[in-house]
Amino acid sequence: MEKVLLKNIENPNSADIAEYMSVGGYQSLGKALGRNPKDIIDEVKKAGLRGRGGAGFPVAMKWTFASGDPKTPKYLLCNADEGEPGTFKDRPILEKNPHMLIEGMAISGYALGAEYGYIYLRGEYPAAKHILEKAIKQAYDKGFLGDNILSKGVKFHLAVHQGAGAYICGEETALIESLEGDKGQPRIKPPFPVNVGVFAKPTVVNNVETLANLPYLIEIGGETYSKIGSPDCPGPKIYCVSGHVEKPGVYELPMGTNLKDIIYTHCGGIKGGKKLKAVIPGGISTPVLPPDKIDCQMDFVNMPKHGSMLGSGAVIVMDESVCLVKVCYRALKFFEHESCGKCTPCREGTGWLRSILGRIEAGQGQEGDVDLLLSVAGNMIGKTFCPLGDGAASVVQNFIKHFRPEFEEHIRAKACMAQG
């Protein structure tokens, strides 16, 4: 399959507007502005485009809600917070193909009647900030952004807002809080952002990759687009693979590519010919899979059937040398660090889980600690304010579900067997 989202990225100047336009860039915007906004939404609906931020929410549905709310102005926010550990799929778009994102945002802005857009960019991507700001300026100069886009009387303004290091700001309501100058703590829903979002106005939040799909979608039409990859969630998808594979990196493949193929065909198999021990398929919050469970289609519909989730499509591959207690401990350290502190079970539970795992990892585990972990995780799951706390608890549950003997061995032997 030809590359769509990662098109032209080998070109060292791919971020420049001239290069982007030389390969057909911004033509879809012109095309879109020639149609009425509702048509664009219909096209996206026909395409069956689902959000790439992790939850796989149908894009057209979200847009319809927001465009139907009479309040103005409306806002379009691009979620470029990419904080899920293992994930680095948006970064190449932001750094190499910023105009594809900008064009996608201008199209969506037009479709849903939003006049203002912000790219909420994680603080850890300083290079991307400069690249985006430069690209935005170029787009303004060429009339792709501004008060009168392509002289069609369409208004859309765009700016970058830099986050400052908080994973929770990837959650859309926390992102909105953060954009408003507050702590990134999730808001009560309802009201949903599509009705009461940033500055209390209707707001659509979409992931970078989602928005970057739009120029292509408009170019080939919804009908054709819907034929790519999985029928239930079509389109190209960027998988980002890290850990113990021969060729880690980003792979743009049709949605629904088999996980095993990704690891063994595209990434060249396990590094150094070692034995595979575990795979986290969609970023650290998604349930870990043992080697015998990785023959599955990587999309939003099929992964849950195999006991995991597509998440951000961030595949972390671990070979036999890895201590899974340690990985689990490190994951919980992450969640403890990133818990926003708003709700009791997550604020207190992540730290408690981390400390139990810490003592097991350090060879000071006690009889009953595994059950204690499950009990504490059970007291969190389903009781937290937002999915972050659930994610933390489910990581513990799933590591124990598939690898309980390793945890118990760790406690008994007071040392790590994997690492000797």
């Binding site: 850890e124 408003e180 850990g243």
Partner: protein, 160 residues
Amino acid sequence: MDIKDIMFSQAAIKEIEEIRAKYPTARAALLPALYVAQREFGWLSPEAYEAVSEILGVPKAIARGVGTFYAMYKNRPMGRNVVQLCTNVSCMILGAERLVDFLKNKYGLEPGGTTPDNRFSLVIMECIGACGTAPAMLINDDFYENLTEKYIDEILEKYR
């Protein structure tokens, strides 16, 4: 004399006022304004918070609450160069912890610490989105990937 005039250059005040104009509320300019303050002083001192608070009309306790929520704002003085090393899972399984030990043993750089000559501070990071080229780090605003001990030596050489 207002604290903002003591703390900030007129250029920085102007920069914050320009940022302010990009948003419908003053409060929304808080995060970028704190970045400006941090760039000006290296860290967010109580006076820096007061100055930002004064320019934007955001209460200082709120500014400090926000500034301490986010990991990338520094609430204590930092060395001239901030080494931000990722140790999250993908980096960890590819040896990030060894690199932490290396920085400690060779440079006396502890996580959260600063070298006595104030040249480096070390901050342990969560995922910085370079997992495919792990282990990775940022020094100030620059990415470095596929790190090894030897490579780190070379990189640190460049920062004075």
